[in-house]
Amino acid sequence: MTKRYTYFPGCSILGTGRACEESTRAVFAELGVELDDLEDWNCCGATAYMSVDEHKALALAARNLALADTKECPELTTPCSGCYLVLNKTQRYMEEYPRVGDKVKCALKDAGLNYTGRVRVRHMLDILVHDVGLDEVRKHVKRPLKNAKIAPYYGCQTVRPYLDFDHQHYPMTIDRLAEALGATPVHFPLKTRCCGGSQMGTLPNVAQRLCYAILREARRQGANLILSVCPLCHFNLDSYQPDIRRRFGEDVSITTMYYTQLVGLAFGMDPETLGLHRNMTWDGSWLEREVLAGATA
C-alpha cells in the first residue's frame, strides 16, 4: 500500500538545504512513499521568531497546521529539524494550554482558517525507519556501504524538547538505519549536542567551537562520515570546516552528508540526483575510495 504524507518543505530546503530536498524526494519516491505538497505554506518562523513574540510565532506556524488540517492525510512531515520542532511545539502548546490554543485559533479564524487538532507532525527519519521500516530499506540496498563508518548526528532540535520515536539523549535511529545500509555506526557521544545553529552567523566563535568539537570527535571515534538530519546542522558542519581549521589550527575535515543522501547512495542512485555535488565536503572519488574499495556488493 502506498504510504502518503502531507509534506511541508520549509524555507531552508529551498535555499541552503536543496540537497536535502533532492535526496529526500528521490529516496522516498524509490520507497513508494507519496509526499503530498502542502500548498500555500508559509515560513514556520523558526526558533528566532518564537523568542521574539511567542503568540505571533505560534499563529504563524499554526497557519500551516490549519492548512494541513484540510488535507486527507493528517500526518504532516518535514525534512527540516527546525520546522519539525516549531510545528510540533505549536501543536502541543495549543493542546496543552487551551488559553494559548484559543487565542491562536482566533487569529486563524480571522484568516478564514480552522484547526481541529487532528494534525500529527512527523519527522521524516521516523517515517523512514518506523513506517517504511528497515526491512523495506534493506530490500532496496544495491550497494552495501561496508566501509562507511558513520558518526550519526541528530542535533538538538530533533530530540529536544520532543522526541516521540527514540531516546532524547542517546538516540539510535540513524545508527540502526546506517546498519541497514551495510555501514557501521561508531559510538558518537556528541550525537545530540548543538552545532551552534544560527549563531554561526551572529557569534561564529561560539558556533565554530561547537562544530569543532563535533567534527574532531567524529574523527577521533574513527568515523569517515558524519550523517545529519537537519539542513542547518549540515550547513554548519559541511561549510565551515576550512574556517574551523584556521581558527583552531587543527585539521578536522570529514565528509558530511544528509542521511537521505547516504540512503540514496546505498540504493545505487546517482550522486547528482541526491544533490551531493552541492555538499562542500563531497569529493567525487570518496565513495569509491573510502567506502566501496575492498567491499563486495
Partner: protein, 675 residues
Amino acid sequence: MTGIPNTDGNGRRGAAGEEIRIGFYVCHCGMNIASLVDVAAVAKEAAKLPHVIVSREYKYMCSDPGQEFIMQDIRENRLNRIVVAACSPNLHESTFRGAVARGGINPYFFQMVNIREHGSWVHTDAAAATAKAIDQVRAAVARVAKHRPLERRRMEVNQAVLIVGGGIAGITAALNLADAGKKVYLVEREPTIGGHMAKYDKTFPTLDCAACILTPKMSAVREHPNITLWTYSEVTKVDGHVGKFKVTVRRKPRYIDEETCVGCLECISACVFKTPKFEDEFNEGLGKRKPIYIPFPQAVPPLVTIDPETCLKFKTGKCKSPCETVCDRKAVDFSQTEKTEEIEVGAVIVATGFKAFDVTRLPIYGYGLYDNVYTALEVERMVTSSGPTGGEITLRDGRVPKSIGIIHCVGSRDKKTNRWCSRVCCMYSLKLAHLLREHTGADVYQFYIDMRCPGKGYDEFYERMLDEGVQMIRGRAAEVTDWTMSPEEEGKLVVRVEDTLAAYVRRIPVDMVVLSTGMEPAVGADEIRRMFNISCSTEGFFLEKHPKLAPVETATAGVFIAGCCQGPKDIPDTVAQAGAAAAQALALIDKGYVEMEPNTSYIDPDDCSGCKSCIPLCPYHAIAFDEGSKKAVINEALCTGCGTCVASCPSGSISQNLFEDDQIFSEIEEVLSHV
C-alpha cells in the same frame, strides 16, 4: 460481643417516646475556626433550633474543661443528645463520644460537625462560611434527634503477627514481637533475609561493618522459637480484618528439602558447572553463581536454592545431577512443587523495602554505554571484602582507578525522573568516598546539588570527609561522556558539570564514575498495597495514617508499615520505625480484643426477597444466604460498614446503623431547607 442491631423497642422506635434534649457546642479551635466563622452567631442560631436546650461556644472543646461542659450539662440539664461543631471527626469524634459516655448517655447519641476542614480552612468569605456552618449545625441537630443507642462490638484478636519483608525493618520488628512472646510469621521473597543491608560494606557515619551488626540479628530470627521464617515465599491473598486476617502465602520450590539441608554446600561444589556462570543477583551482577547456589555465606536460612531457569536438569533433563548424589542427607529434591500456607494473624507489618533507581533511565550518565560507570550498590558490593572482587576496586578493564567521580541525586530531586530526595545518598556517597580512597588512594570528586546531612554525627562525618580531602563540586552533573577536548582526557570518562560555586562549566576527567541512585518503591509494591488495602502517595510509597502522629499505622486497622516501603530512610530511622510498628502491633494484639464500630448493616428479614444480589457485592464476604429461611444474613463480625449492600438492595431491606435513612434524610432536608 453485644448485640446489634437495636431492634428492641427502646432502640429503634423508643426515641419517639422520650423528650429530646440536645446540647450544642461550637469550638473556636484557638483562632483556627473563630478567625473566619462567627462562632457566637453559630451558637446563637443553634439555640433557636428545636430541642436544643443548651448552646455554648468555647475556645478548645477538646480540652478537659471543654469536655467537662458536656458532661456537666448532661447531668444538670438532663441532656440526651450532643452536637459539637469543631474539627474533623477523624481527629476528635472519639474524644467527644468518650465525654458523652462519661456524662452518662450512649456515646452514639452524638453528632460532630466539621466546620474547620470543611469550613474555616477552605473558605475566605466570613459571612458565607458562617452561614454554611449554621446549615451544617441545623442538619446535625435534626439528625442527632433520630439517633439510636448503639454499642461497640468486641472481637477477639489473634495473637500472631505477619511481617512481610525480611530486611532490617522486618527483622527488627519480628525480633521485638517474638521477644514479647508473640507468634511471628516472617515472609521474605528472596532466598535469604537481610535485604539491602546485607549487601552493604560499612554503615555511615560510624563506619561499623554492616554484616557484623546484621548477621547476629539474622541468626537470632532463625533460632527464635516464636518466629516462623518463610523465605523464597510471597503473600498472595489476604482476607479478613483487624484481629483476624486470613493470609495465603505461596512458597516457591527451592528444590531443596528445608528440613534436611544443613547448608554444607557440598552440592554446590559438585554441580556440573565447574565454574559459576550465571549472573549473581546478590552481587548486583558483578559476580557469577551456579544454578545451585547460596546468596552469600551468612545467608539465613543457610539453605541452597536451585534456579530452574539455569539448571540443566530443568532446562534439558540431561544432567547426571551430581548435586543429588553427593548429598548424603538426600536433601536435593527435583520433584518439589510450590506450596501454599494459610495462616491467621491479628496484625500485619508491611516492611517491603525499596528498589534502587534504574540508572538506564538516565542515559546521560552513560551506564551501560561506558564500562567504568557503576551504580552505588555495585560499588558497595565491590568494597566488601566478601564481595565478588574480594574488596579489590578494579575497573572492568582491570585497572585500579586513580580518580573517581561520585554523582549525587541520580533519580532523586529530578523532575524528569523522581522529584523526591532519597535522604540517604549524600551520606552513603561520602561513605563510599572514604572507602574508595581507603582502598585505592584515588582522588574522589563528589558532584552534589547541596549536601543533606541531618542526623546524629552526620554533619561531623561530612566535615571529616572534607578534612580527608574529598573534592566537593557543587552542581548537578550534566553528563558522563568520553569525548575529549584535551590530551589528559584521553582514555578517561569526562564528567561535565556546572560548578555553581566557581561559576563556570567544568570537565572533570576520571577513571571511574559512581552513580548515587535514589530509592523507589519496591517491585511488587502495588500488589502488596492492593492486598493489604494500603494507600500510597503519588510516588508509590505506602501512606501512613497520619504523617506526624500515626507514622506507622495505615488507614487499614491492624496493618502497620515500617522502613523504606513508607519512604526513603536510613538504617537508624528504619530500625526505630520497625520498633514503633512492633510496639503498635503489640499494643493491638496484647489487649486481646478490638472494639468495632457499630456502623454495621442489618437486614429486615420481613422485607428481604432472597434475591441474593447483595451477596457477591460485599467486598468482605460478610453476607451469606440462609437456605432455611431463604433470606440473606449479614455476619456482623465481618461487616465493615461500607454500605455497598444497603445501596444495592432492590427491596430496601438492608439498613445500616448510624446511617439510617431517616437520619440521612433529616440532614439533607435541613441543609436544603432554604433552597
